[in-house]
């Protein structure tokens, strides 16, 4: 899952900040519960659970990011 995020195009990388949570840790489990996730792997964008139990295609992930991207002032 982390690799699919890391290979996103440069223009997408520049507008996102990526944080990976390890489900083997207390911190990771806590974040999983905060997001109300139920399955793995999961991707949240701006605290919203967007993809669950799947690794999205690049195009889907990019579209989901762009849909939620709001540049300053817009």
């Amino acid at each position: 899952m982390a690799e699919s995020v890391k290979v996103l195009p440069q223009d997408i990388q520049e507008i996102i900040e990526v944080r990976e949570w390890d489900m083997r840790t207390r911190e990771g489990v806590k974040r999983f519960m905060e997001l109300k996730a139920k399955s793995l792997p999961s991707i949240a964008i701006s605290d919203e659970l967007v993809f669950e139990a799947i690794i999205p295609m690049q195009e889907e992930l990019i579209a989901a990011i762009r849909d939620r991207y709001a540049p300053n002032g817009e």
């Binding site: 390890d22 489900m23 519960m33 996730a37 399955s39």
Partner: protein, 286 residues
């Protein structure tokens, strides 16, 4: 052993020991470059702290820090007394195989219940914790269990702190682990990356002692990384057995249930384990 929780680097924890003035068993845990980490461990093993510290300083990697710098900070905190040495999380592994075990919890010094348990035909009798308690029969319980096939685990209500926190044993090809509850993660020696920590966190923190069935898909996904495929735990007061994938989760409640004594029986049947709950009348009033 010292456990230092890092900031800004890949491994979330650094474990190390200081023996006299010597660094021992440095370990970068939970992430990062394994190859370089192992090299650092080898190079630092047995090195005087005074010689190690200058070597660790001033190295930059990311976020304005690095693994060597984090280790340097950890050692300096340990020397100043700002980082407490962690207590041990005790894991006891049974040396022999079992084919039939009885498991209880929350015995709480109940001698008649223990005596009933001693009459059960089993290779081992396991109390997951709180074997002693406020009752007056604690000494009698400990004496009755002495030399028998009884294993007491550590519970938060036990009056002494010397029992293992985790007990692991084999039944055929199955590997079992028992513990009382998630209280163990509050102890200073607990690390997310130690043996059976994953099983504990998944049972207690993720699934709420298997009472949050909504997260069972995630729990199932994580069982691939378990060392144990039979996980026994207490704490909830419930008796329950759930199989997720290839892992048997068994919640064991208090031994005293109204006017009867109740326990779990695990019995090896071929390649598998049969789980049942058995009750006997409580005859303590007779």
């Amino acid at each position: 052993m010292f456990i230092f929780r890092t900031k800004g680097v890949c491994p979330p924890e650094i474990h190390f020991e200081i023996s006299g003035d010597l660094l021992k068993n440095v370990s970068f845990v939970g992430g990062g470059c394994r190859g370089n980490a192992q090299l650092i461990t080898r190079l630092l093993e047995g090195l005087e702290v005074s010689r190690a510290l200058p070597l660790l300083k001033g190295i930059q990697c990311r976020n304005g820090t690095s693994c060597p710098v984090q280790l340097c900070q950890a050692i300096e905190q340990a020397i100043r007394g700002d980082l407490a040495e962690s207590g041990d999380i005790r894991v006891h592994q049974a040396p022999q195989q079992f084919s039939r075990v009885a498991v209880v919890a929350d015995l709480k010094g109940d001698l008649p219940a223990l005596q009933a348990l001693l009459r059960v035909n089993a290779d081992a009798l396991i109390c997951l914790g709180n074997s002693t308690g406020p009752d007056d029969d604690n000494d009698a319980v400990l004496e009755a269990a002495d030399g028998e096939r009884v294993i007491f685990l550590q519970g938060p209500g036990d009056r002494t702190d010397s029992n293992p926190h985790f007990f692991t044993f084999s039944m055929g090809n199955r590997r079992a682990v028992g513990f009382y509850s998630g209280y163990i993660q509050e102890l200073t020696g607990f690390s997310d990356y130690s043996r059976f920590s994953l099983e504990l966190l998944m049972v207690c923190n993720l699934s709420g002692y298997l009472q949050n069935e909504e997260v069972f898909p995630a729990l199932l996904a994580m069982t691939d990384q378990f060392e144990a495929d039979v996980v026994l735990f207490a704490h909830t007061g419930l008796y329950r057995h759930i199989k997720l994938g290839s892992v048997d989760f068994i919640n064991v409640g208090p031994v005293k249930q109204g006017d009867r004594n109740l326990w779990a029986i695990l019995e090896l049947e071929g390649e598998d384990i049969r789980v049942s709950f058995e009750a006997t009348p409580d005859i303590s009033g007779l």
